[in-house]
């Protein structure tokens, strides 16, 4: 099974032919198309958008608007003003927790997250619950790491204001039933907030069809640049949300006493925007669309199936999470008597990049009964040889650590 894009599309990968990059769930490598698009903005159309009364600024404004259109298309959002550019998923989720949460969560209300959340979709909700005197509830997981929707349906009440959950677990690759959870939230009038950081890069996402209120994602995990992300929300939610930050661009009129706000999306994008970031994300969306997100998902599923079989066949290895057919391209595992950090160091010696640790998901680690796992994650540029190298390196590490 070969990669579904040429390795030569990625300068870093072509410059390091021996590199086995298995950490795309942390951040993905960048195709030249993305870097070129960003560079092109700086070299041909660069000025401050929305401001200058001159042609160059108008071109910059146009680039930014076109980027938003492309991103909206990728995420299946008809109303592109509902795509807000942020610094990334963490930023997006913090905006919602702080701005929407503060305005809508009161004492005695309930905020629900799942036990498999990344800290970015856990801590902001925990903290706003503490601040507002609300009850913070952690929805239990099924044995394979998804939100237990039966329990969730029984947990919710009129007091439930938010249900925050991941599209795909960054540790287990387990895919949550997004529409089902959104329906449960809707049944009690709660806001459904989906952390799509591990979803959007790996499978087709249609925001309008998912029916969630909020969807957040990061550009850097989907071949785009670091420092850019999106906050996508239903218009009535975003329109009613108090501005998170105030300043330039987001105002309609600033009086001495009062200020009125600009319309979406500008209302939620204070200050000079990261236009190059948006342009880069748009190029990444176009690159992924050209491959086809169904092809991306199928490729990862095929790779992770082989990896799951080969890695779990090694004695003493425990793979966490669902079966290969039900996960995205993420494989978390532990090896008896070898700590994940030692594994990562030994694999690095063979130019194999994996992640080791708690993956910013300590509540999930506790639920798995481990302090850390090793995680290999796959993307469009990985192939079966990468899996082979991983398996060989794991066997070698086991030999080194074997009890004498």
């Amino acid at each position: 099974m070969s990669a579904i894009v040429p390795r030569s599309d990625f300068s870093l990968l072509s410059a390091n032919p021996a590199l086995v990059y298995l950490d795309s769930a942390a951040t993905a490598q960048k195709p030249r198309a993305v870097l070129d698009a960003m560079n092109d903005f700086y070299e041909t159309d660069y000025a401050n958008p929305h401001r200058g009364a001159y042609a160059l600024s108008a071109r910059a404004t146009e680039r930014y608007a076109r980027a938003r259109e492309a991103v909206a298309r990728f995420f299946g959002v008809r109303d592109e003003a509902c795509v807000i550019f942020t610094r990334g998923t963490t930023d997006s989720l913090n905006v919602v927790a702080a701005a929407w949460g503060r305005a809508n969560i009161g004492a005695g209300d309930e905020v629900i997250v799942t036990g498999a959340e990344h800290h970015a979709n856990f801590v902001p909700w925990q903290q706003i619950a503490i601040e507002r005197g609300a009850i913070f509830t952690i929805c239990p997981l099924t044995a394979d790491g998804r939100a237990d929707v039966e329990v969730l349906a029984a947990l919710v009440s009129e007091k439930t204001k938010v249900i925050a959950f991941n599209h795909v677990s960054n540790v287990l690759g387990a895919i949550n039933p997004v529409a089902e959870i959104a329906a449960i939230a809707r049944s009690v009038g709660a806001l459904s907030v989906c952390d799509g950081a591990q979803g959007a890069p790996h499978m087709a996402v249609s925001f309008d069809a998912l029916d969630v209120d909020i969807y957040a994602a990061s550009a850097h995990k989907m071949l785009g640049p670091m420092g850019t992300g999106v906050l996508i929300g239903r218009r009535e939610i975003l329109d009613a949300m108090p501005p998170y930050q105030t300043g330039g661009d987001m105002i309609a009129f600033v009086g001495d006493e009062q200020t009125t706000w600009n319309v979406l999306p500008h209302r939620l994008e204070a200050g000079t925007p990261n236009v190059a970031g948006a342009v880069g994300l748009a190029a990444a969306c176009d690159y992924l669309t050209a491959i086809g997100m169904d092809a991306v998902a199928a490729h990862e599923r095929a790779l992770v199936k082989v990896a799951h079989e080969r890695v779990s066949a090694i004695e003493g290895v425990r793979v966490h999470g669902p079966s290969a057919a039900e996960r995205s391209g993420v494989l978390s595992f532990t090896v008896a008597d070898i700590h994940p950090h030692d594994l990562a160091t030994l694999l690095d010696e063979r130019s194999i990049c994996i992640r080791a640790g708690h993956h910013c998901a300590q509540p999930l680690m506790r639920r798995l009964g481990v302090t850390a796992t090793a995680r290999a994650s796959f993307y469009v540029y990985n192939d079966e040889n990468d899996v082979e190298q991983l398996v060989e390196a794991l066997k070698s590490a086991k030999r080194l650590f074997a009890v004498a």
Binding site: H341, D342, T345, E349, Q362, T371, L400, V403
Partner: protein, 146 residues
């Protein structure tokens, strides 16, 4: 043998498999928890002080081979040492792990950790127990993070 394999020498692997002084201490006079927030690894260090001298030292916790072996060797070597002697060892070990100290100062058994200086992301693993020891000997907060 590459640099990394050189770090995972038999002595480190042995201390990882069979850590010395790996137990709770009922009559400990100081108990200090060390945490590496980056990876979630933690250990509890137990010391029984006899005046100015460390009469006994032990540890428990979860961590990688580097941090376990480091704690295992550290608890062995500081037994019977005065605070000042332990302080000097802490200083030397930290210096070695960050690649700054002349190795001559350090007991030969601890020099197996010199390799971590080339692995910036693993320095904290080796230093964690020593950090906890330093905190324990300087008043102790009960919990310390590297």
């Amino acid at each position: 043998m590459t640099d990394t394999s050189a770090l995972y020498q038999e002595v480190i692997l042995d201390h990882n498999r069979r850590p010395r002084n790996y137990c709770a201490m009922a009559d400990a006079t100081i108990e200090e928890r060390g945490v590496n927030p980056l990876c979630g690894d933690e250990l509890t260090l137990y010391l029984r002080m006899d005046g100015d001298r460390i009469a006994d030292a032990s540890f428990q916790g979860s961590g990688c081979a580097i941090s376990r072996a480091s704690a295992s060797m550290m608890t062995s070597i500081v037994k019977g040492k005065t605070r000042a002697e332990a302080d000097a060892l802490i200083e030397q070990f930290r210096g070695m792990a960050t690649g700054q100290t002349v190795l001559d100062d350090l007991p030969p058994t601890l020099r197996v950790f010199a390799g971590v200086a080339r692995l910036p992301q693993r320095v904290k693993c080796a230093v964690l127990p020593w950090h906890a020891l330093h905190s324990a000997l300087t008043g102790g907060t009960g919990s310390t993070a590297v």
